[in-house]
Amino acid sequence: MFDFVRPPWYTESMIAQETLRILTESAKYDVSCSSSGSGRRNEGGIGNGMPDGCCHSFTPDGRCVSLLKILMSNDCVFDCKYCMSRRSVDVPRASATPEEICELTVDFYKRNYIEGLFLSSAVHISPDHTMEQLVRTVKLLRTRYCFHGYVHLKGIPKADPLLVSEAARYADRMSYNMELPSEKSLKLLAPQKDKESLLLPMRQLRRERDVFRAEKRKGAFLPAGQTTQMIVGASPEHDGQILRLTESLYRVTGLKRVYYSSYTPVVEDALLPAVQSAALREHRLYQADWLLRFYGFDVEELVPEEEDLPLDVDPKCAWALRNLHLFPVEVNRAPLEMLLRVPGIGGRSAQKILSARRYTALTFEHLKKMRVVLKRARHFITANGKFYGEKNTLAVRGLLAAGEREDAGARQLSLFDTPAALSAHTGEL
């Protein structure tokens, strides 16, 4: 039917199942998954960038599969306590060749399994050697395999700055993981890494990107910018400290995004907690992060430095409850900045309200019809002068917290539960 011949450079070097399993399982705790921000065009070959990003599948842990997340090698010379590939643990080790990675990427991509490649590596032999391997793979993928899809490349701390610059010319996004929110924790749990080895390349990349843009050079230089990741719950830092670090990273290094990963114990160590950190804390940090980036909040408004975010209500609700003197706001008159500060009203709902109120005075019926979620918002707004919420602060907090708890850990009690278990669920002493 069609006359499609495989390109002559195609070597059919298919990666072994076991190698793929080892290299994927070692990479899966890296939470960065987005494929957005790059509009790279197809210039004769396969693939292009999709600026909005695209999720191709979802795994039973609720995370999206957008990129082929894989390590080049899990044979590491570093000994970071929290890492499953650290030097001192006895786990199966494997490495993949650049050709194997490239062909896996291209074959998965053309079947529409993935949006691109997320390539990382354990520090194999030395930081420079590892970075060289990563750069070689991405260069091969872009030049010989003519792949124009999304590539996220992990930077290796302490690698040569020239290698970092070269990598940025081929990747869409690069990231250096902060891993731990303070220098002290980093020294304790990741002794071979230090704050400067992570911040220096981030600053270098920002500087070079600014120059690249100012000079309007041809090609692309990290079109999707940089990101980083922090493990939450492995060290004693408070949410306030984590969010302050986040805010300064956005300001100083121009990061696109900071990811948070709640700590999962994969190796035993006396310096690390033995239990998994609460997923809800990670969720609250992401909510606060969104408020910083898209809702015009300042970190000082959200949480003091030595405190954690409240777990019973989301950070926007908590802020609103502390500032009840600013509410209720009239949806027909409030400016966009204030609408965005109402709990339950997000960017899309705020835009809908702005658009619809040009033509008519909005009532609660109208808001419901426009699918604006009123469960939380009704306590903080009036619509055409009407207020349908609770006036008592304690009652509002109770209702908002009850809404959050709706399905968190709820289960049918069993006749055979022990008294202690029953007490834990019912609250009865």
Binding site: M14, Y29, I46, P60, G62, F108, R371
Partner: protein, 278 residues
């Protein structure tokens, strides 16, 4: 009066002209139970009337035909009436009404359009190609809305040198890219011969899907929210197997979806098992 039309743009615009002043008009593409004494008419497309109607509507709202295209792609039974009420409002007010979301007609049309666009966006990720022996790619899909050809520009831009077929098995049609031209064609049943290594790549993908999951953080509800079960049937990673087999009723969101048969490719791919009945 009830105005039946065939779902095409020209037929809708012809029916719109006839029904515009009818207070009790109902435009529909499907079957409808008539009440006692209710009248009905089957409206055939009239190119002249449709062109006249389109021209007039474009004077009021230059982007309204884009909305109509999306509304008529909807899989909802009441799409004809939703579009009719929306366009009657444009004609009555003689201006775009897109932003007047407090109006029922606009809210319904906007929701309908949102669903069509959302499905097209989702399918850009959920479509799964199989490589044929010829090197062409073939992907079966059964969308709720008629979005097959909306996906064409996306895949043409990223796979310009590889011919591919997007087969809507529910509507028996296919969107085809032959490496130079894209077109729509009727396609009932497809018989394909898979490439020799297709099974091996699918197996690697299943391995990857299983390895990348973190079992201690199970969030099935979130997974199903982002990737509704009705899209799972053509995915080689078989998410239902990853979370334990699902009953037949849960696999198919609607009766229409249950009728869609997965193609049985020849070659190295094994035939899919027969679906379990409740």
């Amino acid at each position: 009066m009830i105005y039946f039309f065939d779902g095409s743009k020209a037929a809708f615009l012809t029916a719109f002209l006839l029904a515009y002043r009818d207070e009790d008009a109902l435009l529909t593409t499907g079957s409808h139970q008539l009440t006692l004494g209710q009248k009905s008419v089957f409206v055939r497309a009239d190119a002249q009337k449709a062109a006249r109607c389109e021209q007039r509507l474009l004077q009021f709202d230059e982007h309204c035909m884009r909305d109509l295209d999306l509304l008529l792609r909807s899989g909802e039974e009441m799409r004809g009436q939703t579009a009719f009420l929306y366009f009657r409002m444009i004609a009555a007010r003689k201006r775009p009404v897109r932003g007047e979301l407090a109006e029922n007609a606009v809210a319904d049309a906007s929701e309908c359009i949102r669903r069509v666009k959302l499905e097209a966006h989702r399918l850009k990720g959920f479509v799964r190609f199989m490589e044929c022996a010829s090197g062409a790619l073939y992907a079966p899909l059964s969308p709720d809305n008629d979005v097959c050809d909306l996906l064409l520009p996306h895949f043409c831009a990223r796979l310009p040198h590889i011919p591919f077929v997007l087969h809507d098995v529910r509507r028996a049609k296919a969107a085809v890219w032959d490496g130079a031209h894209s077109f729509l064609a009727p396609l009932g049943e497809a018989e394909i011969v898979l490439a020799a290594d297709e099974t091996a790549w699918q197996s690697l993908w299943r391995q990857y899907y299983a390895s990348v999951n973190i079992p201690s953080r199970e969030r099935i509800r979130q997974m199903k929210g982002y990737m509704p079960v009705r899209y799972w049937k053509f995915m080689p990673e078989d998410p239902s197997a990853a979370i334990g087999d699902l009953p037949f009723a849960a696999r198919n969101a609607s009766d229409a979806a249950a009728q869609d048969g997965a193609p049985h490719p020849r070659g190295s791919l094994q035939s899919p098992p027969a679906p379990r009945r409740p």
